[in-house]
Structure formats: C-alpha cells, structure tokens
Symmetry: C2
Subunit: 160 residues, 2 copies
C-alpha cells in the first residue's frame, strides 16, 4: 500500500493552505499586526461584507453564534472592530470594522495576493486558474457536512 496517494493529496492541500497562511501572518506580524490568526482574517472579511451581527456571522461561516461571538471578542480586543448598539433593534450589537481593521484586511489581502502571484509565476497563470476552477467545483459540489450542517441549522430553528 506504500502511501495512499489520496491521503497525500489531502496533506498537500492542507500544507498549501498552511504555507500561504504562515507566509501572510509572518509578514503581517512584522508590519504591526501581531496576534492575527487565520480565522480573524476571514471573519473580518465576512463582517465587512455585511455579516455585521454575531448571529449573522455565525451563519455565514457555518459556525454557531457562540463560536462567532468568541471570534468577535478576539477581534474587538485586537482593535479590529467595535460593537455598537443598533438604533432600531435593541437586541442587536452592530459590528463595525475599525480603520485598523481595514488596514489589516487590505494588508492581508495584498499579502495573500502576492503569494498567489508567486504561485502563478511558478506554475503558470493558466494552470493556477484551472486549479482554482476545479477546486471551486469540487468544494462547492458537495452536499456534505458543512452545508448539511448549515441547512440543519436553518431547518431546526434555534437549538441554543
């Protein structure tokens, strides 16, 4: 059985992700954004794109609202967002990304893009594009766990 090619592929995908994230966060730390984690990046992006309450963020990230709240607490401590009461709905705490938060997002985005550019240079832009297209189809095309969990949440109403 030597080694499972399938298992190795999985490891390569994970390794690729970690490689990118390590590069980006190492550089982020050098530029005044220490303590940033991968989840912070992506959560902040989702918030800025409209998921501006804890519950909504949880839905977007397919995570419980309590889980999302923990990330939000971390982001607030790091100074990347503020929690403000909503004027119309007193249940809500509206999330607003701070200037520092936007700085970090912009920097993170450009660093990620740099890494991607390096990859494109090594493997050729066409190859990279087709890799992305395939991955997107393969990942989107699964009715499995994550999406199933998301659907479950919607179907069952609130558990919490």
């Amino acid at each position: 059985m030597a080694r499972s090619q399938g298992a190795e592929l999985a490891l390569l995908l994970l390794g690729g992700f970690q490689s990118m994230v390590d590069d980006v966060h190492g550089e982020l730390a050098h530029r005044g954004h220490e303590g940033v984690r991968a989840s912070h990046e992506f959560a902040l992006r989702a918030i800025d794109e409209g998921a501006d309450t804890a519950s909504e963020l949880g839905r977007r990230l397919s995570v419980s609202k309590q889980g999302a709240a923990k990330t939000i607490t971390a982001l607030e401590k790091l100074g990347y967002l503020r929690r403000e009461p909503d004027s119309l709905d007193a249940r809500l705490k509206r999330l607003r990304v701070t200037d520092r938060g936007h700085d970090m997002m912009a920097l993170g985005a450009s660093l990620f893009d740099e890494v991607r550019e390096r990859w494109a240079a090594q493997m050729g832009p066409g190859q990279l594009a087709s890799l992305e297209a395939h991955l997107a189809r393969l990942v989107a095309h699964r009715p499995s766990s994550v999406d199933a969990a998301a659907r479950l949440n919607e179907d069952l109403g609130e558990t919490t």
Copy 2:
C-alpha cells in the same frame, strides 16, 4: 478590492482538504470506525512507518512530544495501538499498531484514494497530477515556519 483572489485560493485549499477529510471520515464512521479524527489517520500512518515512540512521532509531525503523546493516548483509547515497554531502553514506550489500527489505515487509505479518483475523473488525471506536483513543490520549497520550527528543535536541544 472586491475579494482577494489570494485569500480565496487559501480558502479553496482548506476547503478541499476539509471536503476530502469529511468524506472519508463520514464513511469510516459508517464502517465501524467512529471517533477517528484527521490527525489520528496521519499520526497512525507515521507510527506505522517507523515513528514508534512519542518523541520520534513528535519530530516527524513537527509537533511537541507532549502534543504527540496526547494523540497517542487517543489512539490507544480507540484501540488502534498499544504501548509496550522497550526491552533495551527502559525510557522508551514502543508503539505498536494493532490489527484494528491496520484495518483503519487500510480503509482510510482506500477511501482517500477513492475521493482522489473522483477528482481525477472530474478534472482529468493529467491536471490532477500536475496540481499535485505543483503543490508538492510549493509546499516543500518553503524554508518557513514548520520546517524552521523543526530545525529549531534540533538545534536547541530539548526545551522540555
């Protein structure tokens, strides 16, 4: 800035990994191997390939030996390995993969390979092979965090 293509690529890689792992572990659970986690699979493989002590496993996986020990404890509880004293060196506990452990590894490997086959069918075997080759180069070719940490461990002697 719309969305960072680089960040999306990272997410795709992570999603690809999770997609594979979810598929495999869902099926593993259906076949009598509930409770298996991604880390268990890969750790058991490393052990079977020769990393048969906690410290050595830690080195192979680039984690602390305490971290490796926790995985080992979990694997032992699940019945996938046994810890036996070494006859020559009383400090060591030799790790031996049980029959059930070999079953799980074989099943996991074939499930991973199945997923990979499906991917190959969708994107074409040549495309997949070149994706793997590129990823392997990109991941191996970084003198960064993980390997750096591994080297640090060797250089500094034992911290623990």
